[in-house]
């Protein structure tokens, strides 16, 4: 019997199986941000264990509320900053160099195929796009990760989702993942790894694969994962070129982690996306999904383009293409947050930020901000947002606010119209 990529990663990282169904894995990376790490740091200190297992494997960023909005968030940043300093953690990204964790860390080359990664953040599953096993954990697991470089997991089953067909113009990775969540429901993949396969995934670039894997947790999955291939190697090449002769050799090294053809899956599903049209959410659950065409006319107060789901350069390019030559509705507040400084600079050099500003958008610094309703565009009660983020829970972007999740193209088109609307890029029906 062959093995899945998740099984191969588990096997190569196994430290202990203390009670049969639990695997304690060695970690290649522990990622940290300022919302969930300070409590872990303080608890470790209180236990007299203010140590780290390996400062080079721990990567730290202040991203959720940046710049700090009040004394409390300033204190969270301070705790993290001082801790990184006294423990010799060199990869610490503070304001000016910081960006949304799940965009910044891959961009820095910290993620590799076959890696095990944890972070105190549920969207850590994003890094599965590189063929890594990456899972969100709570503070206690994070503490143990920081202290000992291990984490315990139940052996995950794998749910294989084959994405086939031909995508219509104006339909994007975001629409595909919304479709998958609709079909699986919010707990359809609980305790499972979703392996994204098929021609459509093979043809995606890394930005698109990250969008796909980012929302795996919205279906309950531990991790979303794509098999490493030449696209993965191309993305990583600048970071790994000293380790391998050529790209072929790197590919061969990573290929060992690819799932075997006769691997065993808990469940398999094939989704043909040929007829897929742009989608959006309507209620307070990410599996409440409808075609944008059925939500036409829904008035919005704010459009947010950014986050670890859709704040990458390609996302901004697509939104700018829709916005170019248009002014957004005068009752809509448009906010765009390029997810990292690199993306910000590239978008500036390409003239994308000018298009956003000419159309009436506010361009903010890289941060999570409005995505979790802590800063940078919080909604008032009764307000409605069209957003490229990943969660539409009640109160997510501000108490009493409603969030509709969608692709950057749909969000940009909705900003122009002042209501939920399909983009001019989509020529369907």
């Amino acid at each position: 019997m062959g093995k899945t990529i998740a099984e191969k990663i588990f096997e190569t990282h196994l430290v202990d199986e203390p009670f049969g169904d639990v695997s304690v894995l060695r970690l290649d990376r522990v990622f940290c941000h300022e919302i969930t790490t300070p409590t872990a740091i303080q608890d470790l200190a209180a236990r007299g264990k203010d140590r780290v297992f390996d400062p080079d494997k721990i990567k730290v960023v202040i991203d959720h509320v940046s710049p700090a909005k009040d004394s409390k968030t300033a204190l969270q940043g301070k705790i993290l900053r001082e801790w990184a300093g006294r423990n010799g953690i060199k990869d610490f990204f503070d304001i000016g160099r910081n960006g949304v964790c799940h965009v910044l860390f891959p961009e820095k080359g910290f993620v590799r195929p076959g890696f095990t990664i944890i972070m105190g953040d549920s969207h850590t599953c994003t890094h599965g796009a590189f063929g890594a096993f990456a899972a969100g954990v709570g503070t206690t697991d994070l503490e143990v990760g920081i202290l000992k470089g291990v984490c315990a997991f139940k052996k995950p089953e794998t749910y294989k989702i084959e994405i086939i067909g031909t995508l219509r113009k104006g339909v994007f990775a975001k629409d595909i993942i919304l479709k998958i969540i609709q079909e699986l429901t919010v707990n359809g993949a609980t305790n499972r790894v979703i392996e994204f396969r098929g021609k459509i995934v093979d043809e995606m670039n890394m930005d698109q694969r990250m969008t796909l894997c980012n929302m795996a947790v919205e279906a309950g999955a531990t991790c979303g994962i794509c098999l490493p291939d030449m696209t993965t190697v191309d993305y990583l090449w600048e970071f790994i070129k000293d380790q391998y002769h050529d790209k072929k050799e790197a590919f061969n090294a990573f290929a060992g982690f690819r799932s075997d053809d006769d691997a065993d899956y808990a469940e398999t599903k094939t989704i043909d996306v040929s007829k897929l049209e742009p989608l959006t959410t309507y209620g307070y659950r990410p599996d409440n999904v409808k075609p944008v065409s059925e939500m036409k006319g829904t008035k919005i107060d704010q459009v947010y383009i950014g986050s670890c789901t859709n704040g990458r350069l390609e996302d901004l390019r697509i939104a700018a293409k829709v916005l170019e030559g248009h002014i957004i509705s005068d009752h809509v507040r448009g906010i765009v947050s390029p997810a990292t400084p690199k993306i910000y600079v590239e978008a500036m050099e390409e003239g994308i930020l000018k298009i956003f500003m000419d159309s009436g958008f506010c361009v903010t610094n890289p941060t999570c901000g409005a995505c979790l309703g802590m800063s940078n565009g919080v909604l008032a009660a009764g307000e409605v947002a069209a957003s490229t983020t990943n969660r539409n829970f009640n109160g997510r972007m501000g108490k009493g606010g409603m969030v509709h999740l969608m692709s950057p193209a749909t969000a940009a088109a909705s900003a122009i119209k002042g209501e939920i609307s399909n983009s001019s890029l989509f020529i369907g029906n």
Binding site: T36, Q42, S122, G138, D141, M374
Partner: protein, 174 residues
């Protein structure tokens, strides 16, 4: 083995997420106790008033996929500082479930039909539950009814409850 018993708060809905358990706007708190007044503040269930209904209860009985969404361990902490030590549900989101045991608090799963029965029989009455972790058995009691139900809990989860959580366990073993 530690004893768990107390009165029950019934939350009759699936997919209660961690933003509903403790909203993100309180994640800037560094002290657990500051979360106390905000538990379930954003949860909208007919007849549920967080200001009145949380006090005096130390168990939650609810439906499927409890604790989905964000990984915040602030969710079990907000329960803990309100004296709620146990959640019994049809199923849990993975991270929330692990966070509970990592804090030494049981998150017990029961089959759907058993949860339905419990809601049918007990949810309108004041109900008390006592949990025997060693035996894997719980007893529910109201003025009119008593019911005993078996549950399973893994050896790992038992060990976490016994040693007082994962940090101490891992530091001793790895």
């Amino acid at each position: 083995m530690k004893e768990f018993k107390g009165n029950v708060l019934f939350l009759d809905r699936s997919d209660i997420n961690t933003d509903e358990i403790i909203p993100a706007r309180y994640l800037t708190e560094i002290e657990k106790i500051a979360l106390k007044p905000h538990l379930l503040e954003d949860l909208k269930i007919h007849g549920f008033d967080p200001k009145k209904d949380i006090e005096a209860n130390s168990m939650i009985v609810t439906r499927a996929n409890f604790g989905c969404g964000s990984s915040r361990e602030h969710a079990p902490w907000a329960l803990e500082v309100n004296g709620i030590q146990v959640v019994i549900a049809e199923s849990f989101a993975r991270i929330f479930r692990q966070n509970m045991f990592n804090c030494g608090m049981p998150a017990i799963e029961l089959p759907e039909n058993e949860i339905n029965e419990i809601f049918n029989i007990f949810s309108n009455d004041k109900t008390h539950i006592s949990l025997d972790i060693e035996k894997g058995q719980m007893t529910l009691q109201s003025e009119h009814q008593t019911r005993t139900t078996d549950f399973s809990i893994s050896e790992f989860d038992k060990a976490l409850i016994q040693t007082g959580g994962w940090v101490e366990y891992a530091d001793q073993h790895y």
